[in-house]
């Protein structure tokens, strides 16, 4: 608060005081007060007024600074009224009470919303677990079918399952600390799991899979990492070119491990590349191939964040796409 602001704010009062002073002066002049006495009285009166205003200004400014400092130092800003020095004076106390009531109402609304979200997440997870039972039964019944119908039905069941998994991980990503367990894991097993989960899709799409140098340990959550790889394999199969192949190869990078998933598919236009991790972004390929949700890579980036996993993408139209996962070194992990 500057002096200018303060004066503008108090303009009405100051004008009123000046009018009163002028009225008093004219009254005194009319009743025959000596000019010397009159000027002295006006000076004295003005001095008192200016002093009072200045004192008020400095007090208010100091108080505001104090309050702003408290606010700035708080992580949870809504705790403001609980943390400031007790209010001075009746007016301030009443204002504080009002603010506190507003704050309480807001905290209540927020915690209601959080509870509703938790419930919803709980329901989604429960639903996902329940839907898995009939999918499992359907897969087993599939086993009675021969050859082609079995493969085609399994392919469709895989698609159902891929959607279900995305829903599950979407819910999990809301409160990752409940599910994410970072520990030492075998990279080969993680990759084998992701490939096994998508074998029907990969075989049906005629994708050749090559692996190299996977005999390494990484620090991550195996299930989450396997889900991320699964999204990449689905993309490799969906956006494939002629004679599709996907190569999963790992190498050490200091104490980190880098896994590259590269395909020889149709690639991503350069101007779309920066947005592929955005939620709901489908791009020209997604529109051309259909069935794209724009959720796969978005979830990958979100989950990778919790796993402290580096996620980089490079692509050339018509040549292929390579996604590089950089697994953190044990010492760099903030949550183990």
């Amino acid at each position: 608060m500057t002096l200018g602001e303060y004066l503008t704010d108090r303009l009405g009062r100051i004008l009123a005081q000046m009018t009163c002073g002028a009225a008093a002066a004219s009254f005194l002049a009319a009743t025959g007060t000596q000019p010397g006495v009159l000027i002295l009285s006006i000076l004295a009166l003005s001095l008192v007024c200016v002093a009072a205003h200045l004192a008020d200004f400095f007090r208010q400014r100091a108080r505001l600074r104090e309050l702003e400092e408290v606010m700035d130092s708080l992580d949870q800003k809504y705790l403001f009224t609980e943390c400031v020095q007790p209010p001075r004076g009746l007016y301030e106390r009443r204002l504080f009470d009002l603010t506190r009531r507003a704050g309480r109402a807001m905290t209540g609304a927020v915690s209601d919303a959080q509870a509703a979200q938790r419930e919803y997440r709980g329901y989604v997870e429960q639903w996902v677990h329940e839907i898995k039972t009939p999918i499992t039964a359907a897969r087993l019944i599939c086993g009675h079918l021969d050859g082609d119908p079995r493969r085609r039905l399994t392919y469709e069941l895989d698609r159902v399952q891929a959607h279900v998994e995305r829903a599950l991980f979407y819910a999990r990503a809301e409160s990752p600390e409940q599910d994410c367990v970072i520990r030492q894991a075998d990279l080969g097993e993680i990759v084998a799991q992701a490939i096994a989960d998508h074998r029907t899709l990969l075989i049906q799409s005629g994708v050749r899979v090559e692996t190299a140098g996977l005999d390494r340990c990484v620090y991550t959550d195996g299930k989450w990492a396997s889900f991320i790889l699964g999204q990449l394999l689905q993309n490799a199969a969906r956006y494939r070119g002629a004679q599709p192949a996907v190569v999963l190869s790992a190498r050490s990078l200091g104490r980190q491990v880098q896994l590259t998933v590269s395909d020889n598919g149709i690639g991503i236009p350069a101007h779309e590349l920066p947005r592929v991790f955005d939620r709901g972004f489908t791009g020209s390929n997604g529109r051309a191939c259909g069935g794209s949700t724009g959720m796969g890579l978005y979830l990958c980036r979100k989950l990778a964040g919790f796993l402290e996993l580096g996620l980089d993408i490079a692509s050339e139209e018509g040549a292929g796409t390579a996604v590089t996962l950089t697994f953190p070194a044990k010492g760099d992990l903030t949550k183990l």
Partner: protein, 221 residues
């Protein structure tokens, strides 16, 4: 024949799983009453238990702890709960493996075989033999009479699959499926290349044309 006990509350899965395992040559026993499961386990004395974690009334984890009190029977958890935490808890309570629903049938069968092998059950055969052709799985060689030839990993798996289905027509797709089970991720073209090499090797040991091509259907040994 190893006996597998199925503890699963969903009737459709229970019946289909029993049927599947029967067809695979296992004996099966299914639990339909979920009270006193550990007594039922004792009476049935299975070689392996497939235990669902989401049973009515009783948590599968505490049931596992119960069974473990007086039995070393290997247990594979089958569950739709799929977080790493769940898996760690289950394995720390004495489970031998953990398979999440919905499982792929070949994957489940492979896990069952692996756990049975680890628990010292009947091991798979070391050699396969069909009509004068002998396949030594451990050495990775095939022989006929006194002639012997070394096979690559892919060729070995292809020949093993054909020999274990001797007389039947095996489609290329089934063959690819079987190879993927062994983490050999080949496509149609690679299969053709491997098949040509395998036939040449079999010709070397005096068995030309032992793998017949059934046009439009697949291969037959």
């Amino acid at each position: 024949m190893p006996k597998i006990m199925i503890v699963e509350d969903d009737a459709a899965i229970r019946e289909e799983l029993a049927l599947l395992l029967d067809n695979e040559g296992y004996q099966t026993a299914a639990v339909t009453q979920f009270s006193a499961v550990s007594d039922q386990v004792r009476q049935a004395a299975p070689d392996l238990i497939l235990l669902d974690l989401g049973l009515p009334g009783r948590d599968g984890l505490s049931l596992c702890a119960d069974i473990r009190k007086n039995s070393r029977t290997p247990i594979i958890f089958v569950t739709s709960r799929s977080s790493t935490g769940d898996e760690l808890r289950a394995l720390s309570l004495g489970g031998d493996d953990y398979v999440t629903k919905p499982y792929d049938i070949p994957v489940l069968l492979a896990r069952i075989r692996a756990v049975l092998r680890r628990s010292g059950g009947p091991a798979g055969p070391e050699a396969l033999e069909t009509g004068g052709l002998r396949l030594h799985l451990a050495q990775g060689t095939a022989s006929a009479g006194d002639r012997c030839v070394e096979l690559t990993r892919n060729e070995l798996k292809i020949l093993a699959h054909l020999m274990s289905h001797a007389g039947q027509i095996v489609s290329r797709a089934d063959l690819i499926d079987a190879l993927w089970d062994s983490q050999i991720y080949i496509d149609d073209n690679t299969l053709s290349v491997n098949m040509t090499r395998l036939r040449a090797k079999l010709e070397e040991i005096g068995l030309p044309g032992v793998i017949k091509t059934r046009r439009g259907m697949g291969y037959q040994l």
